[in-house]
């Protein structure tokens, strides 16, 4: 009861063109940042290791290594502050959550590249 009403409310906050990317993709996330009156775009590059939630609460987690330290950032897919998500390369993965990457260091974090099909 009422679930369809929640969807109606969320509709207005959803992006019409949902950015396409998959778990294991290496992406550039372009984030709009307000500094005073000026708007600036910041880029966060890393591997998508998880996606969670539905509707406006759909989030994805991006992991990268900064100065030898693992850094993870969680972004809302539909936030207007996310200007663009660019897929740089795709990895071959067999699970939905890549939390095993957290225990890996150095060369072991690399994922095998997935070749896009010719039809793409």
């Amino acid at each position: 009861m009422g679930h369809h009403l929640l969807e109606k409310v969320e509709e207005s906050s959803l992006k019409t063109e949902v950015p396409e990317f998959e778990i294991g993709d290496t992406v550039d996330v372009h984030t709009r940042i307000l500094e005073g009156d000026k708007e600036r775009v910041q880029i966060f590059n890393g591997v998508v290791i998880a996606r969670s939630g539905s509707g406006t609460r759909n989030m994805f987690t991006v992991r990268r290594i900064v100065a030898g330290e693992g850094v993870e950032r969680k972004f809302p897919v539909h936030s207007p502050k996310i200007a663009k998500i660019e897929v740089k390369r795709s990895g071959v993965v067999r699970r939905a959550k890549l939390y095993f990457l957290r225990d890996r260091v150095g060369k072991a974090i690399r994922l095998k590249e997935r070749r896009r099909k010719a039809t793409d």
Binding site: M1, G2, H3, L5, L6, K8, V9, E10, S12, S13, R32, L34, G55, T56, R57, P76, H78, S79, P80, K81
Partner: protein, 228 residues
């Protein structure tokens, strides 16, 4: 009547405002409500408007509920109308599930009038009254956020107990208001001064900032706040 309406909690979600910030909102299916009765000082001793929300199928409604919203042709009603005494007017709508009165001036309201959510469009903030989720007979840790006792160091079987409740020879009794286990929840709760985020007149929806009391599907009273 202070501006208000009856409704039903649909659930919580988040939307984005014009600056791109996520806003936590509770969605309330508010109205349409019918004015079922007007309370006047002359007849009832106080002023209030009685609203009804949500239809109850006629075959499920009690006769008194049906008679409250529309005229029933009964022997008594006929006898009454024959004497030409004044009969209270009826809203002439379906029987209602949720009926509540809102106190305040009754000017501009009449029985049978429909109240919709766009009446609240120019309101900044509201109070929401609901019945909180029932938690039954609860201990002090859940009910009053006590800390309980230690897991070890000689504590036996009383890990979630309150500990001491009073003093000793003086005063030889407990002071009133001592917080103890008891019924928790399932009581009337008012959340005050919630910002109105959006009014969706097409779908009869009202979006308020933050949480409101009660379970999803619970009935609530929404009225203009006296704060601000």
């Amino acid at each position: 009547m202070a501006k208000g309406i009856l409704g039903r909690k649909v659930g919580m979600t988040q939307i984005y405002d014009e600056r791109g910030n996520a806003v936590p909102v509770t969605v309330i299916e508010a109205g349409p409500c019918h004015v079922l009765q007007i309370r006047t000082p002359q007849r009832d001793g106080y002023e209030a408007v009685q609203l009804g929300f949500g239809d109850r199928p006629r075959h499920r409604a009690k006769r008194s509920e049906r008679g409250h919203v529309a005229k029933l042709s009964s022997k008594r009603a006929r006898a009454k109308s024959a004497t030409e005494s004044e009969v209270a007017s009826k809203a002439d709508c379906e029987p209602k599930r949720f009926v509540k009165e809102l106190r305040g001036s009754v000017e501009g309201y009449e029985v049978g009038q429909e109240i919709k959510v766009d009446d609240l469009a120019d309101i900044k903030a509201v109070d929401v009254v609901g019945t909180s989720k029932g938690r039954g007979y609860s201990g002090v840790m859940k009910r009053h956020n006590f800390s309980g006792q230690r897991a070890s160091h000689g504590v036996k079987k009383v890990h979630r107990h309150a500990g001491g409740t009073g003093c000793s020879a003086w005063p030889s009794r407990l002071f009133k208001g001592r917080r103890m286990p008891g019924q928790y929840g399932n009581s009337r709760v008012t959340t005050k001064n919630l910002k109105v985020v959006r009014v969706d007149a097409d779908n009869n929806l009202l979006l308020v900032y933050g949480a409101i009391p009660g379970p999803v599907g619970g009935y609530v009273i929404v009225r203009e706040t006296n704060k601000v």
